[in-house]
């Protein structure tokens, strides 16, 4: 048994593999060169017509399928590609036999309109109730593929099958904090000694016309349609909402000693995890920021580090007026005046908000920041918000040694999750 323990006597959790897909491309290399050169992956939507829509751009991943895939199919494919890269990097197990558990953040399932329409059109026109009509044709159709992809467990089950993970797979959602939650669950399982390895994935391929309209109706989306690449403007004065996007991030987590024992390369260590629910409102944070502040402080406490040990913050930074104000206020509360000396950037300025996947993708980029010594910028930062006194690494990447990152993820429903990621164990 291993002997490396953290400040609370717990097993240390290493990252030994990672993979990513975003609108910028597939794989860490392509993504990293785009991110560090300040390139945006946001573009005009071509997946569906944009008539009558207030927002007409997104960070969709359009390079994987010739035809428009169903959301769950794209979500599964994104996860598969990210996980393949992560497992190959970790050199763990054998193909189809991953020696650990699966924790998977997936978007909630809806029957796509294309499926509903197919069922309706095939149905008996004399049945007046539209759902009765679809139900009748669903039973006659008896199509296992359409059936299975309508189930919430499907994407994780198929992923578990493909990679041969152990035990029952966990499908989870904590809204826009989901990717971070998947990592937290993996960290906790390894700390408990339940498993030596965990495959943690956040994936989201759900940019469809209805999901876009739903966020639009909440006034959450940017409407800066003229120049899509310039629409996502985290922490800028002229920010006006987030940009929906797709992608997946995957991490292979391992017990540090088990990883060392098998000769694995340690890419990083997850030093601390924390979350705190907000009881204020379904979409808004408590005005004093206390749950966000609490989550950050608990994460630093869980990591056992001092404030001055954090040398980069990977912001949630959605580009909504509300989030960025609250995040900045909370960071100032936690770090005090020293906050102005810590570089903080938002990957979402370039890849948009990948929703369920964001926490996992941004963990991958946080680790890449540590490993490369280059901080990706917050692009589109032309008009500073005078109420936000943060060093957002505006517009241009910056070379700087980084060994400790705080990564934030917040979501509707009062979800606040924070990760502390380090170059190595204490």
């Amino acid at each position: 048994m291993g002997k490396t323990r953290d400040h609370l006597g717990r097993p240390v959790v290493a990252v030994t593999g990672m993979g990513v897909v975003t609108s910028l491309g597939q794989g860490i290399d392509d993504n990293w060169s785009a991110l560090t050169s300040g390139k945006s992956g946001i573009h005009r939507i071509t997946r569906f017509p944009v008539d009558h829509l207030r927002t007409t751009m997104a960070g969709t991943v359009d390079f994987l399928f010739d035809d428009v895939p169903r959301s769950a199919v794209l979500t599964e494919k994104l996860a598969e590609l990210a996980a393949e890269e992560a497992i190959a990097r970790a050199k763990i197990g054998t193909p189809g036999d991953f020696p650990g558990m699966l924790f998977m953040a997936v978007p909630p399932v809806e029957l796509d309109w294309s499926v509903k329409r197919g069922l309706y059109d095939k149905g008996d026109a004399s049945v007046s109730d539209p759902y009765d009509r679809m139900i009748e044709s669903a039973m006659a159709l008896n199509d296992p593929d359409i059936y299975e992809y309508a189930l919430y467990a499907c994407v994780a089950d198929k992923t578990a099958d493909r990679f041969g993970t152990r035990g029952a797979p966990i499908s989870l959602s904590t809204a826009c904090a989901s990717g971070a939650t998947a990592i937290q669950l993996g960290v906790e399982a390894i700390r408990r000694g339940d498993t030596d390895a965990a495959l943690c994935i956040g994936t989201d391929g759900s940019v469809q016309v209805e999901s876009l309209i739903r966020f639009s109706l909440l006034s959450a989306l940017s409407t800066n349609n003229e120049d899509p690449a310039a629409a996502s403007r985290p922490f800028s004065k002229n920010r006006d909402g987030f940009v929906m996007a797709e992608g997946a991030g995957a991490l292979v987590l391992e017990d540090y000693d088990a990883a060392i024992a098998r000769g694995a390369e340690i890419l990083a260590v997850i030093r601390g995890v924390a979350e705190q629910a907000d009881d204020f409102h379904r979409t808004r944070s408590k005005p004093d920021g206390s749950p966000v502040i609490g989550a950050m402080r608990q994460a630093l406490g869980d990591a056992g580090i001092a404030l001055d040990e954090v040398d980069y913050i990977n912001a949630h930074g959605t580009s909504t007026p509300e989030n960025d104000k609250m995040e900045a206020l909370s960071l100032e509360a936690v770090f005090g005046d020293a906050v102005t000396g810590i570089p903080i950037s938002s990957n979402k300025s370039m890849i948009g908000h990948t929703l369920t996947a964001a926490g996992a993708i941004e963990a991958v980029f946080s680790i890449q920041t540590i490993r490369s010594g280059i901080i990706p910028p917050t692009i589109n930062h032309d008009v500073a918000d005078p109420s936000i006194s943060l060093d957002v690494v505006p517009n241009v990447a910056r070379a700087a040694p980084v060994s400790m990152v705080l990564s934030n993820s917040f979501g509707f429903g009062g979800q606040n999750a924070c990760l502390v990621i380090a170059a190595g164990p204490a």
Partner: protein, 410 residues
Amino acid sequence: MSDKSGTESARDVWITGIGLISSLGEGLDAHWQALAVDEPHVGAVDTDHFAPFPVLPMVPLELDKQIPRKADIRQMEPWQRLGTYAAGLALADAGLAGDLERLAHMDMIVAAGGGERDVDVDGQILAGLGVAADSEAFLNERLANDLRPTLFLAQLSNLLAGNISIVHKVTGSSRTFMGEEIAGISAVEIAARRIRAGQGDQFLVGAAYNAERKDMLLSLALGNTLWQGAVNSVWERANAGGGMVTGSLGVFLVLESREHAEARGRAGYAKLGPVLSGRSRREPGQAAAVARGQIDALRPALGDKPVGVLSGATGIARTTLEERALLETLVAEGIVGPIRATQSLIGNSLEAAFPAQVALAALALSRKGFYRPTDPTGLELEAADVPTQILATSWGFWRGEGMALLEAID
């Protein structure tokens, strides 16, 4: 994965609060009366609105007893109301309602499906798509005009947890697992593991399912999983082509470390022993092999006499018959004693099914009795002894095999 519950320890997991609502009634007394005292019968069955499928609707509730603010009720869909209501019952039962200090450190794992669709809007759009000149532009226009913003929030899976935080002030960690029955199994399993490992002292774990939904019935009908006709026992259904009956249900459990419960002077309904989850592709024999492996893993924790089983059989023919064959073998081997399939009377509540099994097992142990048989096919036999352990199982209608061993606290 194994789950070592160990012997008596401060980190034992106790069930110290239960909120349970279903088609049979509200609260534990109502469920005990309906399942253990009265001649077994289903509650009101709705054979009309969802024909050809029977549905077991929730008994009427006075929602404001657990969700005092009308504004909160308005912003929830029925499944969230059921869950938030049951969560309130569980917290009150555990003596934690309004205990803001403890609630601020309470962790939550909710198992949830998705939100309910506005079937009227869907229907109008589907009817219009066929006649619109430009169907895609028509879809955009109708959605942009007809969807309600609040409905979207009510559709997010994690918003049951969000509503529980808002209404009941549970504000530790908050996780939502998705994926039909397996989500409920994993929710109970991970909460128990975290308590045993010292990763938390008190958890609120549960789920809710509203069966009165055509959008869910559509998803389930895609797999031809639903029973048509009169509601009878799952064993009878399995012998007659098979199918499940869905039932509305809300269930939350307060799980607590023994030392935490004792320190605040609370007794538990039962001790939650090992919780095991597994999966298979459901080729013939695979689910039984997973369950057999779980039984073997539990053997050291089982007492001398055959253990009573609350089976999560759904009534879907192949899996239910496979489970029945396994149970008959285990009875013959003297491992399993009396068997009860709860879904014969309360239906399948998907994500809520396994937490409900755990709740009913804990209730029976605390009442020192067992439920009445509801099976004319001869599998469910009268129980002779007072149970000291009960095994709660779940085989998901599509995937996921799980079980939990509960023990009486003396």
